[in-house]
Structures are given as C-alpha cells and as structure tokens.
C-alpha cells in the first residue's frame, strides 16, 4: 500500500508556496477553464470546472447531473420485470451486468433461486459484458493520450463480443434478458464454440493493446506517476472496482461477496497493482479483461444441464422487505437497495453506481496536475456518464 508521506506533503506545500510567491510578484491571474459539458474526454456531459495557473490545475471540481434521468424514481412506478429495461441503460456499455444485481435482490426478497444452469449463463453473460465494456476503455485510453489507432481496434473486436451477446439475448446493447427466477431463453446451438473462438480473438486484442500502448514509452511517460491515488484515499472516497485494485487493495466482490453466481465454481485470480497511478489502472483493467476471457472459457466448459427458469408465479409480487445486493460490475461495485411493500413494483430503489464514487476523487487527485494530465486521469478513472447520473 502506498501512502503519502509527510516529506512528500511538505515538499508539495513548499513548491505550492514558491509558485504562489512567483504569481504574486508577476501578478498572474488564474483562468477558469470549463472542461465539458461538451468535450470529447468527458464521454458525454460531465463538466469539470478547472482553475488554471498557466497549464497547471489549481482546483478541479466535477459537476454532475447534466444527464440525470431519474431512474430511481421511475422504478417506483414500474413493475419488477419492467424495471430491467431502465436499469439496462445505467452503464450502457455493460448492460447485462446492470440487470443482475437488481434481479438477484428481487429474488432474495421472493426467496426463489435461479437453477444452476441459469446462474452459469448469467455469469457468462456478465463476464461477456465486462469484456465488451472494458475493451472499449482499453482502446479509448489511447485516444485520450493522442493515439488514434487503438480505439478502432477496440470497436472492431468488441463487435465480436456484442455479436455473441446478441445471438443469445437478441439485443446488442440492451439485452433485457434476465428474469426473476432465471433467464428468458436458453443458449442457441453452436454458441459455445463460437464464443470460445471469440475469446481467442479478445485475447489477441489484449496482446495488441499490450504491444501498442502498455509497452510504448510515450504511453508510460504519460501515465506512470500521473494521478496517484493511495489506497487509504481510494478507500475513503468509496472507490471500487479496478480503480481500487490499481491502488493495491485486493478487493473483488466476485470473490469476496459472491451473491450466488458461478464465480466460486472455477479457478481465477484477482489482479492488483501497487502503484495507484493511471498506468496501474490501465494495466489492471487489461489483465482483468484477459482474465475474464479465461473465466468465460472455463464457465463454458462446465455449464450444468437442467432448466433455466425456476418456478415463479406469472404475475410477480415481491413480498414486503428490504434487500441490498451488489456485484462487481465492469466499473466497480454496483448495488441495488430495494424496499418492497408487497406490491407489483418496488416502493423505493436506491442505485449505488460505481462511477459516481470513482469520479468523486477528482478534486483530490487533480490538484497541481497539468491540463493534459486531467484528460489522462479522467480517462484512466473510466466512468460512464449514465453511471454517474442515473
């Protein structure tokens, strides 16, 4: 674990004081620069208000809410099966993974459990959406740093994964496939072999990214030591997912708090990196994507036979009670706190999304960095706008 030592802090304070003296002598005012709401690096409509001294950021503050769609409120006026349509659109790159914790929470309240086959296919789809999601990050990080080519490779290869998701669910982006008590359909014929060949392609893609970016000297100089988030800071800001693991915290909900999916049935490992900088975050995600392809391979080998749907009533009424289930989504910990009053729809749904917490570290980590580093850090924190403003 890395922590900021007193010596570092003193050096930082004295350098800031020296800068301030120069500014007073030269009478240089600072400048407010709005990065966003319309800016390519914000992937949507995040706004970061920076106060700049030359090219150095004195203060950066993220302003959210430009894309608030009121999903928590909208869920209250829908039945449980209808909610998944909305929930799909929170983290729009890994849609299926959004559905799972909500369905699991509802299942816990109803005290039904999906049959093993459904759980395994759920886990496979969960990992596929993780690969589709993070693959785009792996390419997009290059674009943030000025290398155009990787992102096109990412789009090209993500398409294979999306095709597999479409083949089983019928939807590329918003499958809406998870049901309380199981899944809508079984996997189609030949799907297992096809998915295995796609996983080989994705591993080749990971190797390509390793050649193009991780091994690149310029990429390393731009990322190493930029945006260092020590483990204690990461924990205190409630960060989760790969961002936390890149700070050296060995914490993965798939392993530590498995809510009943098939992750505990196979061997896999959690990747961590001790540095906590932008490079570490990229590296951890790259390793996780590769690990996810192996997880899918192993799961495909062991899908149990049986039904894909448990016995549930045709009209779903969830008994009164409260449940919180969170899973390790592509972006981090995603959880749903459902309060039910025994009606057709939930009484209250609180959605805990990873990006919201991950982005809250921005004011802390962006003090004193240069403008290009703002983009590097934003890119490496990897947020989805829909996941911040749900």
């Amino acid at each position: 674990m890395t922590t900021t030592s007193d010596r570092d802090q003193l050096a930082y304070i004295s350098s800031q004081a020296a800068d301030a003296r120069v500014n007073v002598e030269l009478n240089t005012g600072d400048m407010t620069l709005n990065i966003g709401p319309q800016h390519p690096a914000t992937h949507g409509t995040l706004r970061i208000a920076c106060r700049l001294d030359g090219e150095q950021v004195i203060m950066a503050e993220p302003m959210m809410g430009y894309m608030h769609r009121g999903y928590e409120k909208l869920c209250e006026v829908r039945t449980y099966p209808q909610c998944t349509t909305l929930i799909n659109r929170i983290d729009w790159l890994g849609s299926f993974a959004n559905e799972v914790p909500f369905i699991l929470a509802a299942e816990r309240l109803m005290e039904v459990e999906a049959p093993p086959r459904a759980q395994w296919i759920r886990t496979i789809l969960f990992e596929l959406s993780r690969i589709a999601n993070v693959a785009l990050f792996l390419g997009d990080m290059g674009v943030q740093l000025g290398a155009l080519t990787p992102v096109f490779f990412a789009f090209r290869d993500r398409e294979h994964v999306l095709n597999q998701i479409e083949a089983i669910t019928g939807g590329r982006f918003h499958p809406n496939f998870d049901r309380i008590g199981g899944l809508k359909d079984d996997i189609p014929k030949g799907w297992i072999e096809e998915t295995k060949s796609v996983m080989v392609k994705m591993r080749t893609f990971c190797d390509e990214m390793e050649d193009l970016l991780v091994g690149n000297e310029i990429f390393q100089t731009r990322c190493r030591g930029v945006g260092v988030i020590p483990a204690d800071v990461a924990l205190s800001y409630g960060m989760s997912g790969a961002n936390l693991r890149a700070s050296g915290v060995d914490w993965d909900l798939r392993r530590d708090a498995n809510p009943g999916l098939a992750w505990d049935q196979i061997d896999w490992r959690v990747w961590t990196h001790p540095d906590g900088d932008s490079f570490a975050r990229y590296w951890v995600r790259l390793q996780e994507t590769r690990e996810a392809t192996y997880i899918v391979d192993k799961l495909l080998d062991g899908i149990p036979s049986g039904p894909i749907m448990a016995k549930v009533p045709r009209i779903i009424k969830v008994p009164a009670g409260e449940a919180y289930i969170s899973t390790e989504n592509p972006l981090g910990e995603m959880g749903y706190y459902i309060v039910s009053k025994g009606e057709l729809g939930p009484f209250r749904v609180k959605i805990r999304t990873p990006s919201f917490n991950n982005i809250s570290v921005v004011p802390w980590v962006m003090k004193g960095v240069y403008v290009p580093d703002v983009i590097t850090i934003l890119g490496s924190l990897y947020f989805i706008l829909g996941d911040i403003d749900r």
Binding site: M31, L33, H39, P40, A41, E55, G142, V143, Q144, L145, G146, A147, L148, T149, F152, F153, R156, L212, L213, N216, I218, F219, T221, R222, Y370, V371, P372, D373, V374, I375
Partner: protein, 342 residues
C-alpha cells in the same frame, strides 16, 4: 529549363506562380489521399474512405465540397482582422517553403545560395499564424493551443537547424542544389556509383531532423497545440469551412515540403545514379524521383503519427533540451572533425 527558354522576367515569374498554385494544393491532396484516406484507413480498419468512387478517389471531392459549403463563422468576441488573417499567414509560410525546393537541375522556382537558411526561416513563420489564430479566436482552448505551439517552436527550431548544420558542413554549401550535387558527386569508401546520400554519414542528423520536423508539423507524438482530446483542436477550434481548409492544406503542404527537404538533404534529391548532375533529362525524371523519395519520407512521418500517443508539453521540452539539442551538437562536432581529418 525555364532559363533555357529565355523568357522575360515577368513571364517567367507568372509561369512559376501558376505552377506553384497548382503544385501546392496537389501535394496536400496526394498526402491526404494516400496517407489519411488509404494508409490510415487500412491501419485502423475503417474501410469507409476506400469505398467512395474508384479507389476511393471521390472521397477527396466530397471532403472539399463539404468544407466549401460550410458557414464561415466569426466568433463574436474574436479579433476579426487577425482571426481572418491567421490561416493566410500559415498558408503563406507553406507557399514560401516551396520556393527553394528543387526537383531537377533547373526545375526550381528560385535557386537561392542560402536555400537551407531560407527554408528554416520561412517554415517558422507558420507559428506566427498559429499564435495569431490562438489569440484572436477569443477562446481559452485556442489560446492554450497557440501558446503551446509557440513554446514548441522555440524548443524544436533549434535541433532542426543544428541537425541541418551537419549536412551543410559536409556539403560545404547552403544551396540546396549544391547539396544535391555534393551527394551525387560524393563517394563512399571510393565507390561513387550511388554517390553519397548523406543519410549514410549523417544518420544521427537525419533522425533528429525527422523528430524535430514532426514537432514542427504538430503531428503526433508532438501534436499538443492541436490535441483533439484535450484542447479539442487547439488553435483552430473556432475555424470553420474554408478557413479551416486553409489550415488543413497548410498542414499537409508543409508535411510534403519537409519530406522534400529531408529527401534533398539526406536521400540525394532528384539525382539518379548513372546520370551527370547537369544532364537535362533529369529535369524531366527528377520530379518523379523526388516524388518517390518524398512519399517514402512522408510514409514514415504519417506512420509515426498514426501509431504513437502524444507527449505532454513539459516532457516535450525536456526531450528537446536534454536529448535532441546535445545530440545535434555532438553531431556537428563529429562532422567537423571528420571534415578536417579526411
């Protein structure tokens, strides 16, 4: 060749001017078509630009029409005169570069005795235009881009000139035609069949020249003044339509000119082994030879552009002052020693 026709000065000048007006946009078109539409498309597996018309040629026309029909927007806060002048200044520096580029023994607009010096001086004019654009746009992103461009110029003009110094010392002339002749009549270890392209003796200078040219052209990995993902286009963020097209043409025209400079100074220019340097046939064959060499050099420029991420401004400055300039100085000293000893 034009001297052979013995035309009056004004006729000669207008012919050259007309040629320049045709040649310079054509060169940018060649680079855009070959490298931006073809090479980049194949490298990045986005095959759309290859499909418009025969071999994708209609894409060029489509792009030109797209730029021409766009509205010409002047920002309300902009300094209108400077804002409008800036792209013209940038393009003018590109046009002036072409004055000294030789394509044959007589195929040159003006054979200046201080050709290298002139080319270096004129190429740095474009930064003036970029600064003007950055300031006059009344946009914070544009201002940051303009200032970055100015900082970059100071850092990279020096290694560029120092790298060229090695060539000048070895050729004993600043005249670009003289440099070609020096390479054509030179010998490597007593073998004079292919002359002595200076890339062999001045390889270090060639590398420094290419790296500094990349920064001069604001191409990745040194494209901080433009930086689409940070400054959203930098100094040309507020330009639309035809004015943006001028910047765009200047960018690729200058890339072509720098590739031409590199092939004249390091790859032997228009000379073909087996011909006399003043053979008249080279006026016909020379441009073709030059084009081939230019495209080879440009290929490397754009290959790097499409592959590498971009450095940060302070890292760029560090690289220039701590690595490139000392190396260029070492190269000059070594060249001087070898020149005196041999």
């Amino acid at each position: 060749m034009i001297e052979l026709l013995a035309l009056p000065y004004w006729q000669e000048t207008s012919i050259k001017l007309g040629l320049a007006l045709v040649v310079i946009p054509t060169t940018s078109l060649i680079l855009v078509y070959l490298f931006l539409f073809k090479m980049m498309a194949f490298m990045q597996s986005r095959l759309g630009p290859n499909e418009t018309g025969p071999y994708g040629t209609l894409q060029l026309i489509a792009e030109a029409i797209k730029f021409l029909q766009k509205e010409d927007i002047n920002p309300a806060q902009a300094d209108r005169r400077v804002f409008r002048l800036a792209p013209v200044v940038v393009l003018a520096s590109t046009f002036l570069l072409y004055v000294v580029l030789p394509a044959g023994p007589d195929a040159v607009v003006q054979n200046l005795d201080t050709g290298v010096f002139y080319a270096m001086a004129v190429s740095s004019l474009s930064v003036l235009g970029i600064l003007m654009a950055g300031w006059a746009s009344a946009n914070k992103y544009a201002l940051l881009g303009g200032l970055r461009a100015a900082g970059q110029l100071i850092a990279y003009e020096l290694p560029l000139i120092l790298a060229v110094m090695g060539v000048v010392i070895q050729a004993e002339t600043m005249n670009l035609q003289g440099i070609v002749e020096a390479q054509a009549t030179g010998e490597i270890f007593g073998i004079g069949v292919i002359g002595n392209p200076f890339i062999l003796t001045q390889f270090l200078a060639f590398l420094i020249f290419m790296i500094a040219a990349q920064a001069e052209l604001t191409q990745t990995p040194f494209d901080m003044p433009v930086a689409e993902t940070e400054l959203v286009g930098g100094y040309h963020i507020e330009y639309t339509g035809f004015r943006f097209l001028l910047f765009f043409m200047a960018e690729f025209g200058t890339a072509f000119a720098f590739a031409a400079l590199a092939s004249v100074m390091f790859l032997g220019g228009w000379w073909i082994p087996g011909f006399d340097v003043d053979n008249n046939i080279l006026n016909i064959l020379g441009p073709g030879v030059m084009l081939g060499k230019i495209l080879l050099v440009a290929f490397f420029i754009f290959w790097v552009r499409f592959t590498y991420p971009r450095l940060r401004e302070d890292q760029l400055q560090k690289f220039a002052w701590k690595v490139l300039i000392p190396l260029a100085l070492v190269n000059i000293v070594l060249t001087g020693i070898f020149k005196v000893v041999f």
